[in-house]
Symmetry: C2
Subunit: 293 residues, 2 copies
Amino acid sequence: MNPPAPIRDGLLDGVSVARAVRASLRDHVSREMPDDSPGLAVVLLTADLAARKYAESKARACRDLGMTCTLHDLTPWVSNMRALGKRLESIASDPRVHGLLIEHPLPPHVDPIALYAHVPTAKDVEGISYANMGRLMLGRPYMVASTAAAVIRILEHYGVQIAGRRVVVVGRSNIVGKPVAALLLARDATVVTCHSKTPDLATETLRADILVVSVGRARFIGATHVREGAVVVDVGINFEGGRMVGDVDFEAVRGKVLAITPVPGGVGPVTAAMLLSNLVQTALAQKRGSETL
Amino acid sequence: MNPPAPIRDGLLDGVSVARAVRASLRDHVSREMPDDSPGLAVVLLTADLAARKYAESKARACRDLGMTCTLHDLTPWVSNMRALGKRLESIASDPRVHGLLIEHPLPPHVDPIALYAHVPTAKDVEGISYANMGRLMLGRPYMVASTAAAVIRILEHYGVQIAGRRVVVVGRSNIVGKPVAALLLARDATVVTCHSKTPDLATETLRADILVVSVGRARFIGATHVREGAVVVDVGINFEGGRMVGDVDFEAVRGKVLAITPVPGGVGPVTAAMLLSNLVQTALAQKRGSETL
């Protein structure tokens, strides 16, 4: 691990964290896999334009690091879960595919966790399969959801101490709140998980040394929710009149806290980089023949 | 679910909870599996007398409900993990074995989680395999560690409201603290997980509506740790001069709280009953052919 980067202007700048992650991955790939580049399969289950845009942006990010990315449009099979499962198995069985992910948003009737029963644990770069979530909970993480991994990477990049701190996580989704809480606990934080049924949220968040917010509501957390000197990680991505904003009211909170991730330019770019990191890790494990876990 | 039982003298009496669980299991087994009783395999990996005693007590509890229990002494194989894995696979492949557990204490070099790679998820009645822990974390529990399940069952039996309450869990083990926190979160509690690296434990525990303690230290939690009117669940089993005591100083705390589990007679008997409940559930799932999960 490199020495921590200084925090400038109270900003936990995700763009420079992502740059550092990608640089280290590029080295890693060229050194360890000179002839056999990691391959990602991105599965599309809707004709949704956003899904296609996200998928294409992942493909570009892969190519930038000398990795391959193939897009698989499985929308013709979404009404037949059995056939869809078979298609996923067939894609995952390709030895050039080291990781597979199913692009969001999904059609409403599709259960992503059930679909991952058709993807080997070793190729589940979203970290959403039973086995990968179980490994995380049992303190032996293999693939971790990239957004959750990004939160930790940002804190570590800037040398924010986690051990012994009170961390309040707002939100309990399977891909952010729960895995983030598990990762923080493993790093010796005292972890408080809050959610929509928490009666007095501000009382909880005001006691946070570190506050991680992932609720999907624009500027849900304001100045009255944070204590002076806290560190805030805003996982939210919302749109207000065409402008991207987080779950935290950045302008209101910024002056009060020690440091905060901006939106855009905070967790988002690091999440994209951590997905590539997951892919490199699966590719190396498969190359070494340790993919059976 | 039956209507909640009244709390008498501030005691969450585990013996009567266990009795209710066993009565319901007995009905269930005689109605659903009249000719094909659930079978448990208990694996011993040490000559430790306590392990043998625990195993024999499980065998008696099984027989009391018309279930079968076989003891398997695998101590000759503990120095060869590969052979041990094969033996476990062979025991688990017996169709009369619906659940398998490895008795504690284990030899120091043996990793129970690695051993469960040799046991099908459907027969992991300890709920300690990657897949079972992942299912719990993802909100689709199948087998849950019996001690964690016992904590919830006691609260539900006595009608202690969980949703919207602040629950502080002290301890973060794989078989108690982590699964209890996941179960409480799924029931809409705000969950705080504390442990040995929490700087000011009393500040945390004093804010608990419900306090769950599992640290393995005799009378670690005293009157200064609990607020008036709290509900306390003591998972600890410790011995002081031959006397069994919990992690909570029962005499000191009892007058201050709304209700508390005694030790002995609290979580212990319910844990034993929840193991049998897990076994019945696996047996029924296997009978219905849904054991592939």
